[in-house]
């Protein structure tokens, strides 16, 4: 956090929104670096049927996303991931069942109020090409009637949060790279500090290197922000990396399994899930754990062995052992001091 932003936060005044009936509990106080403000999301037999189509798009989907967790919806095309996501902000209307945010049905909220209280990020980003980056980010606060000064401070703060320069506020979307646009899209969705974020393949159209960086930054942000996030992807690796929980949807919009990444990798519910997560699911499971989580052996056992950082995943460590044709690795901390030793069988246990 820089001085500038701290100053900004200090000068922000309490802003009381006009009283509205049935509004989502959007934060009244602008505790800018966004203290935990998350909502529990419940799908309760949520169903979407399209007329003239035999199969449901989403079929009696029931699951609970605890406040502050990332739920990744993943599955093949036709699994209804995006439909399920759009049911939440009512871009698609429920046929039957219910969806509740912090216990209140989405049907009880005023439509525009509901949407202003939910951050929404899509693959094509959908920035407004005729507005500057700053104006794009300030969209929802403007709709909510925030004072100009507060919007300006918030915009500046969000640019920094998503890793853009203050000067970028004056540029137009056409002047940005794909990765920068998606950062702006994320900042726009976060602007009014919504307790719930919906993200529809947000990194899907970005090249692999930038995508990996955005994923990492998003996870770092999420550790601070602790939003409730529903994240759609077709990429199981992305789901495993990002999700606190993964919901695997199959054709016809049916939920095949809803569990933590580790549980899904270790105990796929059926053949469909096993096939979807891939033959290499044991390796993928290794990627979920870091060396720092292991009970390491004494440093002496790895005398002269290759060194590896303790924040590496077990999968990276295994790859390293294979590459170096070694049986041991010396695990070191970020500052270079040895933390212990790890042997091949420790990884595979």
């Amino acid at each position: 956090m820089t001085e500038r932003t701290r100053d900004a936060r200090g000068s922000v005044k309490r802003h009381d929104a006009r009283p509205r009936i049935r509004r989502i509990p959007t934060p009244v106080r602008d505790d800018s670096r966004m203290a935990t403000q998350a909502a529990e999301l419940v799908f309760d037999e949520a169903t979407k049927l399209y007329e003239g189509r035999g199969e449901a798009a989403v079929d009696r989907l029931s699951l609970t996303v605890p406040a502050g967790e990332i739920c990744v919806l993943v599955g093949p095309s036709g699994g209804g991931k995006t439909t399920a996501l759009k049911l939440v902000n009512r871009l698609i209307a429920l046929t039957s069942g219910d969806i509740r945010i912090d216990g209140t049905s989405i049907m009880e909220h005023d439509l525009t109020e509901l949407r202003r209280g939910i951050g929404y990020v899509i693959q094509q980003v959908g920035l407004f090409p005729h507005m500057t980056v700053g104006a794009n980010i300030g969209t929802v606060p403007r709709l909510l009637g925030w004072p100009k000064q507060r919007i300006a401070l918030r915009t500046e703060e969000l640019l920094e949060l998503v890793g853009l320069e203050p000067d970028d506020a004056k540029r137009y979307p056409a002047e940005l790279s794909g990765g920068q646009r998606q950062r702006v899209g994320l900042a726009r969705a976060l602007a009014a500090n919504p307790p719930l974020m919906l993200m529809d393949e947000p990194f899907g159209a970005i090249d692999p290197i930038v995508r990996m960086r955005l994923q990492d930054e998003f996870m770092r942000l999420q550790r601070e922000l602790r939003k409730t996030v529903v994240f759609v992807t077709h990429d199981i690796d992305e789901a495993i990396k990002i999700g606190d929980r993964i919901a695997i949807l199959r054709e016809g919009g049916r939920l095949a399994q809803y569990d933590t990444p580790a549980a899904i990798l270790e105990r796929p519910a059926d053949d469909f899930v096993a096939q979807f997560v891939g033959e290499d699911r044991a390796l993928k499971a290794l990627a979920l754990r870091r060396l720092s989580e292991l009970d390491l052996r004494p440093v002496a056992e790895a005398d002269g062995a290759p060194r590896i950082r303790d924040d590496s995943t077990l999968r990276d460590a295994l790859a390293r052992l294979v590459a170096e044709k070694s049986d041991y690795l010396l695990v070191v901390r970020a500052d270079g001091t040895p933390a212990g030793a790890v042997a091949r069988e420790d990884l595979l246990r």
Binding site: L91, L114, R115, R116, Y120, I122, L143, Y172, A174
Partner: protein, 239 residues
């Protein structure tokens, strides 16, 4: 031949040698008749064209809202505008005279009819071309339908709409000269008189040049307006 045709040259017997001999361009005639002939005709012409484009824009806008709201109406509106556009202007003026008389209304009905096709088509095209994901993110951010239209769709359609306005304006300024066959107004009237007066060249050139300059000036001004309204279109990523 000219001398034999009698007193048809304006200011017969009083004009300069250039006028009497119907020279190619008599500057002194232009100077003498700027205030009583050319300037009033220019002002009338601007009025005729401006009223036509403004009313045409309003009607086309309403038709566009109808066409977008009720998809079934789009094709009929388009064909109707096509049909109006294909009627020869002289014929349309003459058709309207028995109904609305020798009035400005007759002229404006015809002029407005000719603006509708290009304005309607460009408005519909411009609005349809707004990227679906931009509209979706506006709806997702909690814009109402009206806010989405006014703050997102309409601004993004502006370049296409303005292209239509520019074409409609230039063509209206051109067609409005034909209005002189109905009504003694606009730059068409001096042309009409000059044709009857044994093709008085100076007046034809002067009125014609004014009509052309007016069209070019209007187009230039609208281009500036378009640039002012759409600053984002000139900014692209410098890779």
């Amino acid at each position: 031949m000219i001398a034999a045709s009698g007193p048809v040259i304006p200011n017969f017997g009083r004009g300069s040698a250039c006028e009497v001999n119907n020279g190619t361009f008599c500057w002194d005639w232009v100077q003498q008749h700027w205030h009583d002939t050319l300037w009033p005709a220019l002002v009338q012409h601007i009025e005729l064209a401006l009223i036509a484009v403004v009313i045409g824009f309003a009607i086309a806008f309403l038709l566009t809202l109808l066409g977008l709201r009720f998809r079934l109406l789009d094709a009929p509106i388009g064909y109707w505008a096509d049909f109006l556009y294909t009627i020869p202007s002289l014929a349309l003026f003459q058709l309207l005279v028995p109904i609305t008389g020798i009035t400005v209304l007759t002229v404006e009905i015809a002029l407005v009819s000719y603006t509708l096709l290009v304005l309607y088509r460009n408005m519909v095209e411009g609005l349809r071309a707004v990227p679906a994901e931009v509209v979706e993110s506006a709806r997702g951010a909690g814009f109402t339908r009206t806010q989405t239209f006014l703050r997102v769709e309409l601004p993004l359609a502006t370049p296409t709409i303005m292209a239509g306005v520019r074409i409609a304006t230039v063509s209206t300024i051109s067609i409005a000269t034909v209005a002189a066959f109905v009504l003694p107004q606009g730059l068409g009237y001096p042309l009409f008189i000059a044709l009857r007066q044994d093709v008085f060249k100076t007046e034809i050139f002067a009125a014609g040049a004014l009509a052309v300059s007016l069209a070019l000036t209007a187009d230039g001004l609208l281009h500036l307006l378009e640039r002012a309204l759409t600053p984002w279109t000139r900014r692209a990523r410098h890779a």
